[in-house]
Symmetry: D2
Subunit: 175 residues, 4 copies
Amino acid sequence: MKRAAVIGVMGAGDGARPADVETAFHLGKAVAERGWILLSGGRNVGVMDAVNKGAKSAGGLTIGIVPEANTDSLSDAVDVGIVSGMGSARNTINVLTSDVVIACGHGGAGTASEIALALKSRKPVVLLNERDVSIMFFKAVGGALVHHAESVAEAIVLVRTLLAKDRPGSTISSD
Amino acid sequence: MKRAAVIGVMGAGDGARPADVETAFHLGKAVAERGWILLSGGRNVGVMDAVNKGAKSAGGLTIGIVPEANTDSLSDAVDVGIVSGMGSARNTINVLTSDVVIACGHGGAGTASEIALALKSRKPVVLLNERDVSIMFFKAVGGALVHHAESVAEAIVLVRTLLAKDRPGSTISSD
Amino acid sequence: MKRAAVIGVMGAGDGARPADVETAFHLGKAVAERGWILLSGGRNVGVMDAVNKGAKSAGGLTIGIVPEANTDSLSDAVDVGIVSGMGSARNTINVLTSDVVIACGHGGAGTASEIALALKSRKPVVLLNERDVSIMFFKAVGGALVHHAESVAEAIVLVRTLLAKDRPGSTISSD
Amino acid sequence: MKRAAVIGVMGAGDGARPADVETAFHLGKAVAERGWILLSGGRNVGVMDAVNKGAKSAGGLTIGIVPEANTDSLSDAVDVGIVSGMGSARNTINVLTSDVVIACGHGGAGTASEIALALKSRKPVVLLNERDVSIMFFKAVGGALVHHAESVAEAIVLVRTLLAKDRPGSTISSD
């Protein structure tokens, strides 16, 4: 039996734009509908909170790795909170645990670090609704590992293609 | 809605005694039967592997945090593999994520570090079938946080009591 | 007595351009001449190796935090090797330990993660001889924390100014 | 040129016994007199603070790796503060960075975790003035890697022997 794929969704917390929060909800829902496990930074704000709520609206399994040493800031929509107690050093675990990383919306410094760490460990990254300058920068750094999408539907197609390449037998959960 | 409790089970990998591996299977089964989430070091050997197999035999949810930067050594009985890439530094995450930590059988240095780290972060610990010298040592270091049990049934009773104290409303999953 | 300032220099390892390696040597020398402690990723290749050699040529103190669990890849020009055993999660420690972070030359994904992590923890960053797209991207993410320089001399002036702002009494080591 | 050996001294912070704090000062002094670099948990209390003060009284180089994300709690006697921001996960770095680990006095849970982590990574450990139950426990877990001493002088002789075995050429700094 093949283990379900883990899709990491990264994005802004407190500073997230309303449009990105809304996109995150739809993205989380779409990830769960494919039977993929959702992984995120787990906090109860912004993109992190919304993507988990979207996944739960479709009955998905949600994992959140928080920077703090307790679960005080964990989103209510996270099923399993991994308590790292190591601040931004947990960003490395977020990307190592993900089969594909999606950056959702205009990210801040934390999201930028997660994209860069994903590329460093040779993980494919999908930039969804990112700024042009971010797309240019990450393509300069990560080359063919970097993809971009302008809708949730487009992002999901990219993830399916990337999973099929990396995990040839893992099609069971896709519709 | 209350999140399910996370029970961390620690124990030997390659060097585990056959009796401890057998106990681990029954312990994992009992944890899952209460509706608790099983957390472990996730590797496919010894106590780590057996406790996950036991939990899956009862349909539980199993999370494993591996020391490596990939899932090559992850037990097949782990549903979600958290890939830390940080060697024994992941032991801290194991204990911070657990509501109660159970050390199963005669542990080695890795297990000893997890017990000590649990006590350092004020988590209750149940020593199941541990050596007398270990019980004496950890009681000297951790005082009232340290409990010991000589059967799976006894360990489960202790965990229920400890969860009721720490998480007063969390009785939904108990039989 | 005021502790000496720690300047973190980040940059490419195996993929470093020859011009950036040469700049790194001069940068390390200049850092040591001011009495500052040099911190780096510590590996014996590229910018990391050269910046330590430059610092030692001026008798400075050099600290390197390696990703591996041993010192096999540590530059000979590092006085104290901090052995993290946690891969790229050590990048967070690199930036938290530095009073100012300098990214030297055209960085790869690892360097990009260190710049982003520095900005996330509100550390000032100097981009020395970076690509235009990198400068634009990091200014979009980090705003006033991001500075850029086109020579070692210019970078050193920036660092002195930034240290004076953050550590008002720390002028003893400056010429 | 051979890099100087790094000796890690672990011990209680706030809860340290006065006798252990006094021993720590003499131990730090003796470590520095041999030309060894002192590594510790770096905090400004108990054994951690005293061992650094002892080392500075003999002009040694002192490195402290703090659990916090800033240097607020760093001992004044530490030359270089490594800021981990990862709580007790930094204990793993303490032991990986040390050629030999000395546990000074009656340790608490944090020290116990460091001894266990040292044994897990196959580092030799010297228990100086530890409880009998601790010596028995760690010998059961770590076998021949565990040594014990009842005076600073005895501990230093042990460290010299252990360094000569592990690092055959590293005798330059010894008297």
